[in-house]
């Protein structure tokens, strides 16, 4: 294990794991694999939105748990980096905790839950609410990198469609939504066009996050382990969500604000609080919510009278056994 060099950003971050695993190369992957992934990343950056094939490796976790993101992070990360990992916006879920500890052990890097302290952020299905900066790299875990896959199952065909910039089928599919439901019903993994050329899957982030990708100062890298694809969006690159002139792209909105921090501008998760219909809406981005609460913001604690207000009769919400 190489010596770890101190970095100013570590001041408030968790110190590097001194119990780093021995017997592995730095950041787990062997050097030849890293070179191959690094070359793929560079091509991805040079061809924004194009899915570069790469020789995805077996990782010590199953496909679908972020093998693509982990391989990209392993190829990019260095001892000076501070890593943050989020899963659906939260730093404290199983997937996020384990990936963070994986790199703390195999690379000895500092980790953090704070968006502003991180230099590399690996994410499953959210973009942090706090705007990212030029000094950060956002690594997405991607299950299905091919936006056209549900329309055309053959790889040879979708590759041709991308080569010829033939995206009619995608527009027809969005139009069918409008014809059937009056609006485009895709709410996550909403297709985007990158730099006016490639249609790209933004990974299953809510469409709420799509506008954040547009001209983002941070570099965005995407890794799909099972599907063996890497792609990228360079900083300050145009990312446009597909839409129609008469049906422009819109994002989700809520009547509520966050029950914990009162934020009215963040993506909210619905949390069921009892078996009587009680529920609350809280920020999906746990760090954003915490920073706001630390700054003194407070929510209304949730709507405990939700059931009453919506006039759900008592006998329908109580468990049936007490009669």
């Amino acid at each position: 294990m190489a010596d770890v060099i101190d970095h100013p950003s570590r001041a408030a971050a968790t110190p590097p794991d001194t119990r780093a695993a021995t017997g592995y190369n730095f950041a787990y992957l062997d050097e030849q694999t890293k070179r191959m992934i690094r070359r793929a990343i560079l091509k991805g950056v040079a061809i924004p939105g194009y899915q570069v094939p790469f020789g995805s490796r077996e990782m010590p976790l199953p496909y679908g748990w972020g093998t693509g993101g982990i391989q990209v992070t392993a190829a990019v990360i260095g001892p000076d980096d501070t890593l943050k990992v989020i899963d659906q916006g939260a730093d404290d879920t199983t997937n996020a905790v384990n990936i963070r500890s994986f790199f703390a052990k195999t690379a000895g890097v500092a980790t953090t839950e704070r968006t502003t302290e991180a230099s590399v952020i690996q994410t499953r299905h959210r973009i942090p609410e706090t705007p990212l900066t030029e000094d950060q790299i956002l690594v997405y875990q991607v299950p299905i990198p091919e936006p056209l896959r549900w329309l055309e199952p053959r790889e040879a065909e979708t590759r041709k469609m991308h080569a010829l910039e033939e995206y009619g089928a995608m527009h027809v599919s969005l139009y069918e939504d409008i014809a059937r439901y009056g609006r485009i019903i895709k709410s996550y993994n909403y297709p985007v066009k990158v730099n006016d050329r490639y249609v790209m899957a933004p990974s299953p982030i809510p469409k709420f996050d799509n506008p954040k990708m547009d001209r983002m100062p941070a570099l965005q890298l995407f890794g799909a382990g099972r599907e063996k694809r890497i792609y990228a969006v360079p900083p300050y690159t145009k990312v446009k969500s597909l839409d129609f002139e008469d049906h422009p792209f819109t994002v989700e909105s809520w009547e509520q604000s966050c029950a914990l921090c009162g934020a009215g501008d963040s993506y909210l998760d619905e949390v069921v609080t009892d078996d009587k219909g009680g529920k609350m809406f809280v920020c999906s981005d746990s760090d954003y919510c915490e920073q706001r609460r630390d700054a003194g913001h407070q929510g209304d604690g949730g709507d405990s009278n939700y059931a009453t207000r919506n006039e759900i009769p008592e006998n329908e919400t109580s468990s049936g056994d007490d009669r």
């Binding site: 050097e31 690094r38 950056v45 990019v76 010829l164 360079p234 690159t237």
Partner: protein, 200 residues
Amino acid sequence: MAAMTDIKPGFHDPVLDSQAVFRAVLDAMARPGRLHRVSHLKDVPAPLAPATAAVCLALVDQDTPLWLAPDMRSQGAETFLRFHCGCPLVDDRSTAAFAIVSGGKLPGLDGFAIGDDAYPETSTTVIVQTEGLATGEGLVLRGPGIEATHRLAVLGLRSGVWREWADNGPLFPCGVDLILVDDQTLAALPRTTTVTEQEA
């Protein structure tokens, strides 16, 4: 066959030095025209520049055929690259994944691999050794990775390079990418960057 003692040393720490050089190239490619210093190698075989050698050690291996321009060939350089990178050195630049050229004798950009529309990543990354790089003056760069415009001065290039570069852009998604090197400094121009020589 060169004796082992003739081969200049590689990275002091192959793992972390490769990572640091890659990150410099990644940021250079993501933010075209910005300068990055890679000082991991001091003693490299002529005519390679320290940054050229560092990029090769970080990215080139047995999977990536390398083409050396005629004025970049020397026994020291070839032995160094064969030994540290294990890469095949090829005679035909249209089959190379990486190429090392000098700015003054840069061969026509159209002779390198540009990839094809289905697999545009099978193009050549050309490492160009220049006589000087400076930001804030010179060429005006635009494109992905650049907020508005960025300025980069490149010294020691033969004439006509930027006319050929203007023909490279419309090939997108195909086309070559450039890594510009000056001693221990590097910058990159991906195929998406447009270059204007003079701003009114």
